[in-house]
Assembly symmetry: C2
Homo-oligomer: 202 residues x 2
């Protein structure tokens, strides 16, 4: 089981390896990665040992292989089906963002309580009224819910997702949602990051 | 100096306090906040002690006061001027998002290398060609740069920001940018969060 700090660093190595690959490099050493991302070379080597990719002594990692192994390990090369809840500004932007598919997230439908959005689509992803969620979920057995609803309904919508078999919630609201222990919650509250930045600036 | 884990929890308390306020509550105890956000009551009390807001024994915090003190402490009630670099999908969505102003971030201009974007605006925020950055920076002395450029130019754009007096970079790219020690970098790579979620699901 990889420790979380290592897991958090792997995407940096992947970004750096992809850049090097685009710049025409063929091999990459731990030392080069370390310099590129600002981490000790021993830490890079240790982190990459979890990924089971093996570099050659005094040569380094084959970049194509490194990128492929990292993408596999991070779950980016498998498509994970997801539903998105709350098609406001942020929800709409996420539906627009085809980048998510490159990272393994396939949002197959959006749901909203606004009737005027039902039957529309964003970038070929259909938007349905929220009342149709359980019916579509019975057909599709989606495991991931992206939560971009207003704060006052975040908890109740989260409960509805869990009741209908959603196993993981990507929570973009600043609300600390309460769910059973077996449900994974990934909090991505960008506003909380602002507070961290302001604090460190002063 | 508040420890980072405490600082990370304060926005949850703020979100919960705002919700309670909207639901017509007037006071809130540490125990209620604790239950609402799923943290021990003693932790909530300790975290709030940094904010210098004082509750009354057996009554709790005045919600209006609590919200005001938290917003002040987190830097959300002061407007921080920022420039945004890279007006693509994500950059455009951030310019659209008036929510950022409620959290103290005032993006006063966007910059992009695409000439066809120069002179346009998104939600009243003007977009300029990147070549005009140093000229506008000399007039405006902006301290925060929001980085939403493509990965292959993330490092070079970051260096240009630092050279022109930007003190804090909100980095949305997956690139681990290298900057001098006195520059604050807040990384918000939403794709890295996906890897964490996939890993915990399996």
């Amino acid at each position: 089981m990889i420790p979380e700090p290592s897991l958090r660093r792997l995407p940096w190595y992947l970004a750096y390896a992809r850049l090097s690959q685009r710049n025409g490099e063929a091999v990459l050493s731990s030392t080069q990665i370390a310099r590129g991302v600002g981490v000790e070379a021993s830490v890079v080597a240790k982190d990459l040992s979890y990924v089971a990719v093996t570099g050659r002594t005094r040569v380094g990692y084959d970049i194509g292989e490194l990128v492929m192994y990292l993408e596999d390990f991070l779950g980016f090369s498998t498509q994970h089906k997801a539903f998105l809840f709350g098609v406001g500004k942020l929800g709409g932007a996420l539906l627009q963002d085809r980048g998510l598919e490159q990272f393994g997230l396939d949002i197959v439908a959006g749901f909203d309580s606004k009737y005027e959005l039902s039957g529309t689509s964003i970038n070929h992803t259909p938007i349905h009224h929220i009342s149709r969620f359980d019916e579509l979920q019975q057909l599709m057995h989606v495991e991931i819910g992206v939560l971009t609803v207003p704060v006052d309904v975040a908890q109740s919508v989260a409960e509805m997702l869990v009741d209908n078999g959603i196993r993981a919630i990507w929570n973009f609201t600043p609300v600390r949602i309460q769910v059973p222990d077996n449900v994974v919650v990934q909090n991505t509250s960008i506003y909380a990051h602002l507070a961290l930045m302001y604090n460190r600036m002063s």
